[in-house]
């Protein structure tokens, strides 16, 4: 049959849901400067801690995963801001000098 697309993050997320996991999807919605992943890049996070895809070069995935777990519980989407002006971003190590916004939503 037709071949799979290389990175089917949503397909992976759907499989996790089918296995009974809570899942949230994080999507890069805006970038400025030297952000490593373009708008539209996705990271799927499961309640058990599984990750698929990425929203940065790896520097903010931890913080996004924490926010994802909140959203899984509350059901309320979040719009996260990462950048030089953001103290938290430095804490989580967005050292590349880029800025980005990440939208986090529950898959439910």
């Amino acid at each position: 049959m037709q071949t799979e697309i290389g990175e089917d993050i949503l397909g992976t997320a759907a499989q996790w849901v089918a296995q009974g996991e809570s899942v949230a999807i994080a999507t890069v919605v805006e970038t400025w400067g030297s952000s490593p992943r373009p708008a539209g890049s996705r990271l799927a996070v499961s309640a058990s801690g599984r990750l698929a895809g990425s929203v940065s070069g790896g520097c903010i995935e931890g913080a996004v995963a924490d926010a994802a777990k909140q959203t899984m519980q509350s059901g309320t989407p979040q719009l996260l801001d990462f950048g030089i002006s953001d103290e938290r971003a430095w804490e989580v190590g967005l050292a590349c000098g880029g800025k980005l916004k990440v939208f986090v939503e529950r898959l439910s």
Binding site: T3, T27, G40, F103, E105
Partner: protein, 238 residues
Amino acid sequence: MTPALLKRLQAAQAEKRPVALLTRLSDGAQALWPEDAAPAPALEEAARAALRDDAAASITLPDGSAWFVHPHNPALRLIIVGAVHIAQALVPMAQTTGFAVTVVDPRRAWATADRFPGIVLIHDWTDDAVAALAPDSRTAVVTLTHDPKLDDPALDIALRSPAFYIGALGSRRTHAKRVARLTEMGHDAAAIGRIAAPVGLNIEAVTAPEIALSILAEVVAARRGAALGQRAAPQMAA
């Protein structure tokens, strides 16, 4: 995102229909255009532009609401003519990179499910096969048979298509002869100049996987408009 919307998005991708996911960032409300009507004319315009440019966009409507416009185009396609050793290396690399891959080779001993598990294999003659696949501007065509009677008919059809990349395996001398043949078939220098030959970036590739890597790198460079994807004008055959 609701599971129902995810299913619709996956169905559109499986059926190769371009769709744009529209998300209101304040509350996560979503629509899948064009199956769902765009909630505002500006969103419909943004969805069209995002699909055309294959680039996501954030927009703010006159009412102050912020939306994310996320295009989901069908996968880029790679048509490989020649079920050869290099093709066996190229197929998984191209799939990982996000290409939907089809292998064309009328030689059934080469194009076997054993050598290409899970891949669409077409055994028709190469011109008929490539014509039926109808390369569009999101398609790359690479000929690897090294046999003019198989490569040339495929190139003849590819050159009449808007394929964004056309590459042909073979040395400079082989290509000079190919240029002469394609000229006889009625292709002018500008058309023949579209063919990347010898195929792939010059990374002094030796092994089949290395050659596959050089080919895929040049396909990506062409797709992304990188300088490495631009070839100098080809030499005409003597």
